[in-house]
Each structure stands twice: as structure tokens, then as C-alpha cells.
């Protein structure tokens, strides 16, 4: 691929648009009103048409005023339809935005308006590709008009956000609290709606009114998976949005080349790139990602397997008179684990060997001293829990004590075990009559 100056301009416009969108978008996602962004991005169309009908110009100011008005009107109508028809918010939104969008399409066919170039498909897709051929000079620096508009929009949104940072934060997480501390939640709601509508108009030339929602929702949703902090979410959403713009444009040039076609719609690919970033966050987010949750679950499974094997070996190879399991029964139990979960069991045995806790081949494992210390701790946890349950729930049959203890033994740390010992007054014998290893027991 060859890189033109125009490509830089397109990416600049797209990235600034993404930055501008990320601010209202993050607030929408947090307030669970994402689809309000969708509704407003559709209803901007009749707002623009009406603004044109009234003023007969396509000057930016009337267009922005038309958008701001229609944003508030949409929010009001949705509210009223929801209250009056007592339906859910989604239905009210669907009814209002389809009616207004249809109205916009019909208005565009009116003879009075038809000669202006408000092509529905341009409204839907936007025309970021043309941003390079429409430059304006600001302070002697030539830049695309779309970049200028979106840049100004970003600065305004940032200003509003910083000005009302505290108010937005409280009303995003706890609207009731916001009201009780004297923040006008209704005002914040309509401020956000206006911000969304105006940003949508600024963006609609760049990414198109439907794809605005990709920029509004997808980067903030990805950011939401990556962080738990309000301020960080805005930064991440902005970065992801800008990266989607850049990645989307590059993909729009590169991918069709592989397929032997010319190029494709940049705005569409920007949405796809944002979707790709979201998928990445979905899979790989350190805390909320699918992969990290899988890994941590798997590691827990491995630890439990290790501890189960140690427990079985301890019961079979405990100091004289204390073993409750015959060696053959222990071997059978370990074999059963190896059959049930072959990979994890094998890995667990390897790990036990490496830690020097067992010795011998898998079929005839023997506890080392170090392994016995560790196993004694586990068995102590298990039997203390059984004792504890038998104290707390005297009516619980003795054969019901084992199952919960089997689960909890893996989740008991030293501090909890010590407290259990205190609460049960350091028993020597558990409810089944088996010896409870002492805390300092080192296996000898």
C-alpha cells in the first residue's frame, strides 16, 4: 500500500471524531442508556431537515441548533411515550426514533428540500474519505474541515465533562444519591442528551449517523471491561476509539488489496475495528476478560487437584495409627482423579514432584516430609471445619459434615485456620473420631 497525505487527514478526522464521541458515549454506557445514543443518531436526520426548511441554509450553526433541539425532543418524547404508554424504555425508544427517522426521510423528499445534498446514504455512512478534499486553514495550518469540527467538538465535550465531572460521576453510578445531594438529575440527563445529539451531528459527516453509535458505544464498552475507575474509562475509551479510527482506515485500504478489490468504506471498517478492539478486551481483559477468567479458574482447579492428591496421600500415609485409608484405596482414589481429569492430574503430579512434596512414580506416590507438612495443614483445615459444623449445627447428621469441609479446605488460609482452632477449642479428635493434626505438626 502507498500512504498519501490524504490518509493522514482521514485518520486525523476519524480519530478526533472518536475522541469526541468517547465522552458522551462513556456516560451513556455507564448510565445504561446506550440505545438512547442509537435513537438520537437516527433522529438527527429530521432535525437537520427541519433546520434546513426553516433557515434555507446548510450553514453549520442552524444545523447544530437543529440537532441540539431534536436531541432534547427525542429524549422528551421517549420519556413521555414511556410514561403514558407504561411500556419499557426500549419500546418507547423504538417507536419514537423510527417515527422521527421516517419523518426525516419523507421530509428529504419534499421539493423544497430536495436540491440540497442531504443524501440518506451519506447520512448513514458518512463520507470520511472526502475529508481530505475539503480543507480549511486555521491559524495558518491547513487541516480538513471534518477534523476541525470534530476537534472543536472534542474540546467542548471535554470542557463539559471536566466542569460537571463530579455531577456526572455521581449520577452515572447512583442517580438517587445524586438527587439527595442536590444534583439536578433531570438537568444532567438532558445535558447528556444534548451533548450526544450535537456530537452526532459533528460526527455524521465523518462516520455517518448509524456508525456514530459504533464510536459512541463500542470503545467505552471495551474500556468498561478494562477498568473499574471512572476517569480511566474516559482515557481508555478515547484511546481505543482513536486506535479504531486508525486501524479501520488502514484495514479499509489493506484488506481489500488482499482480496483483489480496490478499497472499501472507511467508516464501516472503523466500526469493525472498534468491534475487534472490543473483542480483544472481552477476551483478554486482565480482570473481566474471558481468557483471564478461564486461566484463573484453571489455576484454581490445578491447586485443588494438588491439594486433593496430598490429602489422599496423607490419609493413607499418616503417622502410625492415624491413617484412615489403605494404600490400595489411596492408589485407587488417585487413579480415579487421573482418569477424570487426566491433564490437570498429570500436571498436578509434576508440580508436586517439582516442589518436592511427593516422590515415586504416579502409581505409587509417597509423601515427602515437606509434602506431609502441607498435607497436614489441609487435613487439619478439613477436620476443623467438620468439628466447627458439628458444633454450629448439632442436628446435622455426621455424614453431612464432609462435603462442605471438602470445599472449604481449599479456601482456608493460616489466619482462618487459627481462628477455627480457637472457636472449636483446639480439638484433638474430629466428629468422625479421627485425629486432627496439630498446627505445628511437621509430619514426624
Amino acid at each position: 500500500m502507498t500512504w498519501f497525505e490524504a490518509d493522514t487527514d482521514i485518520i486525523l478526522s476519524g480519530a478526533l471524531c472518536a475522541l469526541a464521541c468517547s465522552i458522551p458515549g462513556s456516560l451513556l454506557v455507564l448510565r445504561r442508556m446506550s440505545m438512547m445514543g442509537d435513537a438520537i443518531s437516527h433522529t438527527v436526520l429530521p432535525g437537520l431537515a427541519a433546520a434546513f426548511l426553516i433557515t434555507q441554509t446548510r450553514a453549520p450553526l442552524p444545523m447544530f441548533i437543529g440537532a441540539a433541539v431534536i436531541g432534547v425532543v427525542t429524549a422528551l418524547l421517549v420519556q413521555w411515550v414511556r410514561d403514558l404508554s407504561r411500556t419499557d424504555g426500549g419500546t418507547a425508544m423504538g417507536i419514537v426514533f423510527t417515527a422521527l427517522f421516517a419523518l426525516g426521510l419523507v421530509l428529504l423528499r419534499l421539493p423544497a428540500i430536495e436540491h440540497i445534498d442531504l443524501d440518506p446514504s451519506c447520512v448513514l455512512y458518512g463520507a470520511v474519505e472526502t475529508s481530505a478534499i475539503d480543507p480549511v486553514a486555521v491559524l495558518g495550518v491547513e487541516m480538513p474541515r471534518a477534523a476541525l469540527i470534530n476537534g472543536v467538538m472534542f474540546v467542548i465535550n471535554l470542557g463539559v465533562l471536566l466542569l460537571f465531572f463530579k455531577e456526572f460521576r455521581i449520577s452515572a453510578f447512583d442517580p438517587a444519591l445524586a438527587t439527595t445531594v442536590g444534583i439536578n438529575a433531570t438537568l444532567m440527563h438532558y445535558l447528556l442528551m444534548t451533548m450526544t445529539a450535537v456530537t452526532t451531528v459533528a460526527a455524521f459527516e465523518t462516520v455517518g449517523s448509524i456508525l456514530v453509535i459504533a464510536m459512541l458505544i463500542v470503545p467505552p464498552a471495551a474500556a468498561y471491561l478494562l477498568t473499574d475507575r471512572f476517569a480511566v474509562m474516559f482515557v481508555l475509551a478515547g484511546v481505543i476509539g482513536a486506535a479504531s479510527a486508525a486501524g479501520g482506515h488502514v484495514a479499509a485500504i489493506v484488506i481489500p488489496e488482499w482480496l483483489g478489490a480496490g478499497d472499501t468504506v472507511t467508516s464501516g471498517m472503523m466500526a469493525v475495528a472498534a468491534g475487534a478492539f472490543f473483542t480483544l478486551a472481552w477476551l483478554a481483559s486482565p480482570r473481566h476478560g474471558v481468557v483471564s477468567r478461564l486461566i484463573s479458574r484453571w489455576r484454581l482447579g490445578l491447586r485443588i487437584m494438588r491439594e486433593d492428591i496430598l490429602g489422599i496421600l496423607y490419609r493413607a500415609q499418616a503417622p502410625a495409627d492415624e491413617s484412615t485409608l489403605s494404600p490400595s484405596a489411596a492408589a485407587e482414589a488417585i487413579n480415579r482423579l487421573r482418569r477424570l481429569r487426566p491433564i490437570i492430574a498429570r500436571l498436578a503430579i509434576v508440580l508436586l514432584h517439582r516442589r518436592g512434596q511427593v516422590s515415586g512414580p504416579p502409581a505409587q506416590l509417597t509423601l515427602t516430609d515437606r509434602g506431609r507438612t502441607e498435607a497436614a495443614r489441609l487435613v487439619r483445615s478439613h477436620r476443623l471445619w467438620e468439628t466447627y459444623f458439628s458444633h454450629q449445627f448439632p442436628t446435622l447428621p455426621a455424614d453431612h459434615l464432609h462435603a462442605p469441609a471438602e470445599v472449604l479446605e481449599h479456601l482456608t488460609d493460616d489466619a482462618l485456620r487459627n481462628r477455627l482452632g480457637e472457636r472449636t477449642q483446639e480439638p484433638r479428635i474430629d466428629p468422625h473420631g479421627r485425629a486432627i493434626p496439630g498446627e505445628s505438626s511437621s509430619g514426624s
Partner: protein
């Protein structure tokens, strides 16, 4: 009420738009309308039949969608059909087939529509992202992919992809007889499944966990319902377009909701609204040549919704206002009856009259309200005016008043004995509830608070009779 007027004005503006639009083109409009209504044109007949059937199916299945609060899921899935259309075209064309075959394109649309619903569910169940953002993500990313793929399809050397974008905003005029047959088949299937599984779908809508507890395959039913929705969406793409097809699904159903509380009525009503909206929209757009069919259909459906919102016989605004007004009037009458009764009681003589001034000291009545109230009771024969302007209850009025006062005092006694409220504080509470106590509750109160339930006599007031109501105290 100012709000109501505003809404009405806005809704009227929306409703008037198709008419205004129809009025805009040259004078042949009336001729065109006559042609369209009389179904003289073959093309018009095709389009009207197609969109009416579509409206029928969408309105029917939309009922369940609305009640399951899945309206916007339909929006997301309709946008998710776009990449399917483009992919189907690209695959068919590169295999050397005719990429523009409608059935093949719609199959692709169905596939990605279902995939979109699947991704929404996956996001919702495996992340902490809420439903709304999941919908927005699927909607925008799938649509973006679709836009990009369509551009690619247009550049394919073999085959022409021109017209693929008609699925976005719809182009009903391009409908042919085969399309109508396809729509008819889907409509029959949808309506048949809905009729056969009516009971199951109803329970799914109203109490899903109960349905699950009863051992019904809830997931399967849900999947079937969504598959029907996707099918209707897909056949609607061609005529209304994927942006607006959601309106056909939810707006008729939401309109029908104003007329009934019974699903068995709401379902056919919603289907009828959809069919009427489709037919009327097609006729209007056939009459006004330049008007796009899809948006006009949506506007007609919105107008139906607006009309239902105002005039609906069950939940419509006017009905609710009328109910409210009737209740208010009854409350006012009963207050007056009780005031007269208590005045007589204070005078220690049944049927004793009292003056307007006395009554006005009882409660914050304006002179006008009081005069109207007395006139109304007079017309019913419950009060009479004597020569000096004194007002007294007639025998019939005493029966009515006795009931109200008795309800009031029973409730007061209940509050005192069972809710531990001080006798001086019970009057206001009883004042509000005395009008709406049903007979069963009165019977229970009698059992609870009176020693002798058989008598219908009015118990003595448990507190000193002082003027009640806001502003009543001197």
C-alpha cells in the same frame, strides 16, 4: 395538561406528515389516489398485498416481542442482517451463481441476524456489559461490517451488486409477485406457529420462570420466538428497510396495548393494525409518486399509535382522564354527604339543615365548588334546600351518607385499634380511603372492629368532630 397539549401537537405533526407529503406533488394526486385505492395497477396491487401481509405477520409476532421487552433486540438484529446480505452475494457471485437471487440473499440475512442475537446473548452472559450496550455493539459493528462488505461486493468484476443497498432503506416498489408469495408463506407460518403455541408464548411473556418450573422448554420456545422475529425482519427488509423494520414489529403492538388487557385480543388487533398500516402506507405512497413506501408505512403506524395513545379504550389518555375525573367527582360528592351528615349529628337531630357557611368551615371548598356539589346532589334527590337556605339530607341521601360515614369511621377505628394510630390522627387517612373501600374489606373491618357486625348503624366517631381536610381548621 400543558404537556398533554404539547404531545398532541407533536403527534398530530407526525400524523399529518404523510398527508402533507401527499399533498405536495402536482394535482394528479387525486387521480393517483383513486388509481391506488381502486387497485387498478398491477404493481400497486402487488405492493399493497405484500406490505399488508408483512404488516400482519410483524404485528402478530411483535405482540410477543413487546411483552417480552425485546423491542430493541429486533432493531439490533435487523441491522445485523446487512453483512449477511453482502456475504451471500459475494459467495454466490464468486461461485459463479446469480448473486442477486432474493432467496439466497435473505438466507444470508437470516444467518447473520441469528448470529447477531447470539452475540448479544453471549456478551450479556459472559461480561459485565449490560443489555443496552450489547445491543449497541452488535448493531453498529455488524452494520459497519455490512457497509464495508457491500462496497467490496460492488467492486466484484463478475455480477452487479447494484441495488444491494436497497435493503437499508427499503424499496417496496421493486416488489414482484414471487416476493409476495414468499411473504405470504412466512406470514402463514408465523401466524400458524403463534396460534398453535399461543398458550406457551403467553406464559413465556408473562412468567418465564413459572413456565420453566412447569417443565416447559423455555429456551427452545424463546429461540423459536426469536427465529420467527428474524424471519419476519428478513422478509421486511426489502420493503421497509432494515432501519425501519423494527417499527412494523413494535409500533402496532404498542398501539394495540392501549385497547385491551387481554393477549387473545391484543394479538389479532396488533396484526390488524400492522396490515392496515402497511396497506394505507402503500396506497399513500402510490398516490404521491415521489414518496418512499417504507417511511410512509412507518408514519401511518406511528399515527395509529398516536391515535391509540389518545383514544385507546383501555389505557388511552382520554379514558384515563375520564376515569380520573369520575373518581374525583365521586369523592367530592361523598365528602359533601359526610359533611352534611356530621353537621346533623352535631346538631343532634336527624335531618337537621345547615348553612353554606357552616359547610364551608368544614373543608376548603370554594363557593363555586360547593354550589355545584349541592346542585348535583340535589338533582339526585339526596339533598333539599329549605326556605332559609339551609341544606339537609333527604331520606335517600341519608342512606348514601350513612354508608360513607360508616366506612370512614370503621377505617378510623381499625387504624386506632390495629395500627396504633392516635385518634386525633386517623381522620385524614380515613378521608382518603373511605371512597374506595370494597365491600369485602368493609365486611372484614366490621368483623375486626365492631362488637355487633349485624347492625348497619353508624358507629360514633372515635374522635371529636372537627373540620377536616386541608385548610379546614380555623
Amino acid at each position: 395538561m400543558k404537556r398533554l397539549a404539547l404531545i398532541l401537537a407533536l403527534l398530530l405533526a407526525v400524523a399529518a406528515a404523510p398527508a402533507a407529503a401527499a399533498a405536495a406533488p402536482p394535482p394528479s394526486v387525486l387521480d393517483n389516489l383513486a388509481r391506488a385505492v381502486s387497485l387498478r395497477d398491477y404493481n400497486t396491487r402487488i405492493v399493497i398485498a405484500g406490505v399488508s401481509l408483512l404488516g400482519l405477520a410483524a404485528g402478530g409476532i411483535g405482540t410477543f416481542l413487546l411483552l417480552r421487552k425485546r423491542s430493541l433486540t429486533a432493531d439490533a438484529l435487523s441491522h445485523a442482517t446487512l453483512p449477511g446480505i453482502a456475504l451471500a452475494f459475494i459467495i454466490a457471485t464468486s461461485l459463479g451463481g446469480e448473486g442477486r437471487a432474493l432467496g439466497w440473499l435473505l438466507l444470508g440475512a437470516f444467518a447473520t441476524g441469528v448470529a447477531g442475537v447470539g452475540v448479544i446473548l453471549l456478551i450479556r452472559h459472559t461480561t459485565r456489559i449490560k443489555e443496552d450496550a450489547a445491543l449497541g455493539i452488535v448493531l453498529s459493528v455488524f452494520f459497519g461490517a455490512g457497509a464495508a462488505l457491500i462496497k467490496l461486493a460492488e467492486q466484484m468484476p463478475q455480477g452487479s451488486a447494484a441495488g444491494l443497498d436497497r435493503f437499508i432503506l427499503g424499496r417496496a416498489a421493486s416488489m414482484i409477485a414471487a416476493d409476495v408469495q414468499a411473504i405470504a408463506v412466512i406470514t402463514v407460518v408465523v401466524l400458524a406457529v403463534c396460534t398453535l403455541l399461543f398458550k406457551e408464548f403467553r406464559l413465556l411473556c408473562f412468567d418465564q420462570s413459572f413456565a420453566g418450573a412447569q417443565g416447559w422448554p423455555v429456551l427452545l420456545l424463546d429461540a423459536l420466538l426469536m427465529a420467527l422475529v428474524v424471519a419476519v425482519t428478513v422478509i421486511g427488509l426489502q420493503s421497509v428497510g432494515l432501519v425501519l423494520v423494527v417499527a412494523l414489529l413494535i409500533t402496532p403492538a404498542a398501539a394495540a396495548r392501549f385497547w385491551t388487557d387481554r393477549l387473545a385480543i391484543m394479538f389479532p388487533l396488533s396484526a390488524a393494525f400492522g396490515a392496515v398500516g402497511g396497506a394505507a402506507g402503500a396506497i399513500v405512497s402510490a398516490a404521491a409518486e415521489r414518496m418512499p413506501t417504507g417511511p410512509i408505512i412507518v408514519l401511518v403506524c406511528s399515527a395509529l399509535f398516536a391515535a391509540s395513545l389518545v383514544f385507546g379504550s383501555k389505557r388511552g389518555l382520554l379514558m384515563r382522564l375520564a376515569r380520573h375525573w369520575r373518581l374525583q367527582r365521586r369523592v367530592a360528592e361523598q365528602h359533601l354527604l359526610r359533611a352534611l351528615w356530621e353537621a346533623a349529628e352535631r346538631a343532634g337531630q336527624e335531618g337537621a339543615g345547615c348553612s353554606r357557611a357552616q359547610l364551608r368551615s368544614q373543608r376548603s371548598w370554594s363557593a363555586l365548588t360547593l354550589r355545584r356539589g349541592i346542585a348535583r346532589l340535589g338533582r339526585r334527590g339526596w339533598v333539599r334546600l329549605d326556605a332559609e337556605g339551609g341544606i339537609s339530607l333527604t331520606a335517600q341521601g341519608r342512606i348514601e351518607a350513612q354508608r360513607v360515614v360508616r366506612n370512614h369511621r370503621l377505617w378510623e377505628m381499625y387504624l386506632i385499634t390495629h395500627a396504633d394510630i392516635a385518634p386525633t390522627h386517623v381522620d385524614r387517612d380515613a378521608d382518603q380511603i373511605e371512597h374506595v373501600l370494597p365491600p369485602e374489606l368493609i365486611a372484614r373491618l366490621e368483623e375486626l372492629v365492631t362488637a355487633d357486625a349485624s347492625t348497619s348503624a353508624v358507629p360514633a366517631s372515635p374522635h371529636e368532630l372537627v373540620p377536616s381536610g386541608p385548610g379546614g381548621r380555623p
